[in-house]
């Protein structure tokens, strides 16, 4: 097992890496909460870094939605509510006729026309002198219920009575916690029932139905005239940029982003000949978006990435330095028991790597998740479809790579220093 040296003393064996691995896994598990605190330093740095990267990946705005209103609509107290395709000369009266005329409970005095833009016109058709009105595509004619007021009154009375009875019953519940929960539930239910009853009593016009269409391409960002133009006939990127009046002053021509409706996101560098050639051949279809980023914003973001790297480095070095120094005495003891310097260093490096991988992965999940949630909630969830799998995986790679590398590098110096100390000196250290 051990070859005796000339001096009559054996040479200490190198333990296999697996042994060090098992010990370091155990060490992390045993001092779990201490490890969590160390990992938190790594985690926060990486989460910050990834959130900045995610922001970069999500800088293009969502593709604008386009709507069409091909019909006029009749709703409320008519015999047959309908959608009628727009023809010239349709009026409010004629469309009510088409809908089979008024129902018995129709309130002819307050017929409401909701224009496409949202304006409302109220017409009194009980009075024969009221002039008819012409309709345009997207207009909605609503005939209210003559018994609507009465319905609202009844609903209000029923709901209020039920709520009062409910609240009285709730106060008799003995358990304080259950009482609060049930009281809240009654109040919420009451408010919900009341608002539902009041809006569905035949007095409020429904929303105008609209049809989503996709027919234009869109240009956004640092252009003189960002525009939405019909996308037929193979418009090239170059032409689209020209139609938008060309680049604005601080346009970032190196990172023009093209988001195709049914293809992965492309980034074109228009300062290279290759990019310019691509701009002449790349055609835009309906629903495609060209985004020209702001060059100064990009510089700001690069600055943020650098800052987040600095924060990462400081946070991680601090965590790892502490976690090594506070164990000097333990290292001294291990060396007294026959541990080689190499084994001590291995132990700390493996532990650092395990912590680094785990914490950076968590940092990626949280940093990316938070940014995605924020962008989705503020700009529409459709925006997230712009992210490609490659971008997401690249962020994961950067997070785990940077996190693990920084953690390991930050551990090497203190670990080697601790391992090379004479055991007597390491044992004297008091923290």
């Amino acid at each position: 097992m051990v070859a005796d040296s000339k001096r009559g003393v054996g040479r200490q064996i190198h333990l296999p890496l697996g042994r060090a691995f098992l010990i370091s896994v155990k060490s992390i598990k045993i001092r779990f909460w201490r490890s969590v605190i160390t990992a938190a330093g790594i985690f926060l740095g990486i989460a910050f870094l990834v959130s900045v990267l995610a922001q970069l990946a999500l800088q293009a705005p969502p593709v604008p939605k386009e709507f069409a209103y091909p019909n006029v609509y009749v709703r409320g107290m008519v015999k047959r509510p309908l959608d009628k395709s727009m023809e010239p000369g349709i009026t409010a009266k004629s469309v009510i006729e088409t809908a089979g005329g008024y129902a018995t409970k129709a309130d002819k005095r307050t017929v409401t026309v909701v224009k496409k833009e949202g304006d409302r016109v109220i017409l009194d058709f009980e009075n024969a002198a009221t002039p008819d009105t012409r309709l345009a595509a997207g207009d909605l004619v609503f005939v209210p219920d003559s018994g609507g007021r009465l319905k609202q009154l009844i609903v209000a009375l029923v709901v209020l009575t039920a709520a009062i009875v409910g609240l009285v019953l709730c106060q008799r519940v003995a358990d304080r916690k259950k009482r609060i929960v049930s009281t809240t539930a009654v109040i919420v239910l009451g408010i919900f029932a009341l608002s539902f009853g009041l809006t569905h009593s035949g007095l409020t016009p429904p929303k105008t139905p609209k049809v989503t269409v996709v027919q234009s391409y869109h240009t956004r960002g640092e252009l003189k005239v960002p525009t939405d133009q019909p996308a037929g006939g193979g418009v090239t990127l170059e032409k689209a940029l020209a139609t938008s009046g060309g680049f604005a002053g601080n346009a970032d021509r190196r990172h023009v982003i093209v988001i195709k409706r049914n293809a992965p996101k492309k980034q074109v560098d228009l300062k290279t000949a290759q990019g310019a050639a691509l701009a002449r051949t790349l055609t835009l279809g309906p629903g495609d978006l060209v985004y020209v980023p702001d060059a100064t914003a990009r510089n700001r973001q690069i600055w943020l990435v650098i800052m987040s790297l600095v924060v990462c480095t400081i946070g991680i070095s601090n965590s790892m330095l502490m976690s090594v120094t506070e164990r000097f005495k333990e290292i001294g003891t291990m060396k007294c028991l026959g541990a080689l310097d190499k084994f001590v260093v291995e132990l700390f490096l493996l532990e650092a790597m395990l912590l680094g991988v785990g914490a950076s992965f968590a940092g990626w999940v949280v940093g990316f998740g938070l940014m995605a949630l924020l962008a989705g909630a503020t700009q529409g969830w459709g925006l997230l479809l712009q992210l490609t799998m490659v971008e997401i995986l690249r962020m994961l790679g950067i997070a785990v790579g940077v996190g693990t590398a920084l953690t390991t590098i930050a551990t090497i110096a203190p670990a080697i220093r601790a391992a090379q100390m004479p055991p007597a000196a390491a044992l004297r250290v008091e923290i």
């Binding site: 097992m1 009559g8 054996g10 003891t333 007294c336 080689l340 004479p422 055991p423």
Partner: protein, 246 residues
């Protein structure tokens, strides 16, 4: 192992510390030969240099002058791997502050040196249990150091020092953190090991109870050996010395 009668020899060992520009001579030419199977106490007041001598003999620090021989091998000639081998198998250490690994159980602490010696896990565990039973902690295998009393922790440390059957046990103030009764128990345990297993025990201490069990007492003052007494010479004085703190 050589059949030499000396297990440890020091030759003109000196150690200087430099602190804030001033040089402190902690050891000043110490010559000491220790026989195989002997129980030696190194006595002296605090700051006399006995802990420094302990570190030199144990290979935990390097002398600035002179040499230390373990089994006739000059420690200064050894590389890191050979020193580690020596610390692992030839010498067992016991400290005043026990120095157990706080996050490991008693059994894991005792098993650690067997891991470093390359012993298979099962054999190491078996050995650890056997040793802990021997020091009277057979029912405390899975307790952490914080769940044990000072005396029990020192017993774990003694079991650990024996893990790889060392020829020498070095004890630095082993009773320093213990009360009188527990200290006495630990001293008796060390003596028992010395008698039954033939382990050489070298103990730096200022606990006068040690005198009772020692074969020789080395008195150190100001980094120099003041005198070396055989047990037989001082037998009569023990009663008078007990209770007197140096």
């Amino acid at each position: 192992m050589t059949a030499n009668e000396y297990v440890v020899r020091t030759k003109d060992v000196a150690k200087e510390f430099t602190m804030g520009g001033t040089t402190l001579r902690a050891l000043d030419g110490v010559n000491l030969d220790i026989f195989r199977g002997e129980y030696v106490s190194i006595m002296g007041p605090s700051g006399s240099g006995k802990s420094t001598l302990f570190n030199m003999i144990g290979g935990l620090d390097k002398p600035t002058g002179g040499s230390v021989f373990i089994n006739d091998v000059d420690m200064a000639q050894l590389d890191a791997q050979e020193l580690a081998y020596l610390r692992c198998r030839t010498i067992g250490y016991i400290f005043q502050t026990f120095n157990l690994i706080p996050v490991m159980t008693a059994l894991e602490n005792v098993t650690l040196p067997t891991i470093f010696a390359g012993m298979p896990t099962d054999d190491g565990t078996e050995r650890g249990i056997e040793l802990l039973k021997m020091v009277g902690l057979g029912d405390r295998l899975n307790h952490k150091p914080s769940e044990l009393s000072g005396g029990q922790q020192q017993r774990v440390a003694i079991a650990r020092s024996l893990a790889n059957n060392p020829a020498i046990i070095l004890a630095d103030e082993p009773t320093g953190n213990l009360d009188l009764k527990t200290g006495k128990e630990i001293i008796l345990l060390l003596k028992e090991l010395n008698k039954d297993h033939g382990v050489t025990i070298i103990s730096a201490t200022h606990d006068l109870k040690m005198i009772d069990v020692s074969d020789r007492i080395v008195w150190i003052r100001d980094g120099k050996i003041e005198r070396i007494e055989e047990r037989s010479e001082i037998d009569l004085q023990v009663g008078e010395l007990e209770g007197v703190e140096s």
